[in-house]
Symmetry: D2
Subunit: 133 residues, 4 copies
């Protein structure tokens, strides 16, 4: 699989580290989400604007392998590659790699869907356009 | 599998909800971690005390199925059931259920390990004692 | 001033601690907010329900003195005492005290207001009723 | 006062917004802290490295005026200007301004100190050097 798609570069903030002195496991979910939203924005889709129209992009399943830990001072890249996996679901293949040595930090599959204003699964046209039908 | 092991009851705090008005996907990882630590504490194992001895319990893999969303005002139960899966790894089977109607919110498998002061995988004796050998 | 008004009891969660092993300074703002919302709810005012009507309760000013730090395992009480200070503003006097020895952890004054659907300051009737005119 | 000292530019991440659709009040404390740590790092002082030596930089008091809210998509600048205010205390004057129109979002005074390995107030030499005696 080609993971050389969308990438965003970030740096660890000290408050994101827990008492072990490493980035807390939940914070990687923030990083992954932020990169997905940046990817969507680069494709013309605004998560917040959709939410304002009562169209909610939601996470359905996450599989994440934690390979190594980020620590204060680390810079890292979060990559995003999407795949349409069913009429109502899409999958993001994501990796976080430390910038200094390209070390793999986390590898994740995040499956998402969209809910319409009635809370029923329905992909809005904008998503159909970028994810393919 | 019997999930009627350790349980802790919590309530959604408004700041845990994102702009969609539902608990953000990363926050469930906080809930799951907190319940695991409460479970460990009830078994005599203190995550923070271990960290002070440079023994770090770490997450190796997470699989989580998001079934429904928690919203402001919801109370919920987080359950924890552990399983020893290899000499160096243990698995927590966890569920979050809304208290009012027992609705399943998230179902997760969290695989963990422990790193010694040199950063090498090694389970401390306390963990061996509760997880079995 | 009588601070023996509304109180809620909480416990530190390990993920709320930063790399210094103490609760991060920003997390106390979460604790203080959560206690204010619990207080409001006990008075019949639901922050999330107001937001759904486009009425936003907002923080205008915070003054907080950090006296001591909470650490993993600590239980604590957050108190809330309100005061109407002007036609459009109210003030919450809040304290966080460690349960085991009543030690003062933080003392804060949080001044708030409300914005109507047009983003203009306006207190909704429910707030007028509890804060007095 | 000259606030044209250290500055760092950031952007709102969607997960930092709460159910009102604006950045939650506690998150500004994260932004302010991150900018202070970046400032310190630019002066040769590493918060995490100090903590590893059991020297903890701590917040003693925060005064913050919330002037306007950041929303998804906003870029902003956090400024830091320090002042030595007593033998054991220093003050950071900070502002957050929206990049697009320079609008003031928050104005804060954050008073800090340092605790040595025994938990007693004591400024390490590095801090004396940059804050002046």
């Amino acid at each position: 699989m080609d993971l050389n798609g969308f990438k965003t570069e970030l740096a660890v903030r000290d408050y994101e580290c827990d008492l072990q002195g490493i980035v807390n496991n939940s914070v990687y979910m923030n990083y992954l989400e932020h990169a997905r939203h940046e990817f969507l924005k680069s494709s013309g889709i605004d998560f917040a604007a959709l939410a304002a129209r009562k169209i909610n992009l939601v996470v359905v399943r996450i599989e994440a392998d934690y390979k190594s830990s980020l620590v204060p001072g680390d810079q890292f890249t979060v990559s995003v590659q999407y795949e349409r996996i069913s009429p109502l679901r899409f999958c993001f293949h994501q990796e976080i790699r430390r910038t200094s040595d390209n070390r793999l930090i986390i590898q994740a599959k995040v499956i998402g869907s969209a809910l319409n204003a009635n809370g029923r699964p329905e992909l809005p046209k904008e998503l159909e356009d970028i994810f393919g039908r």
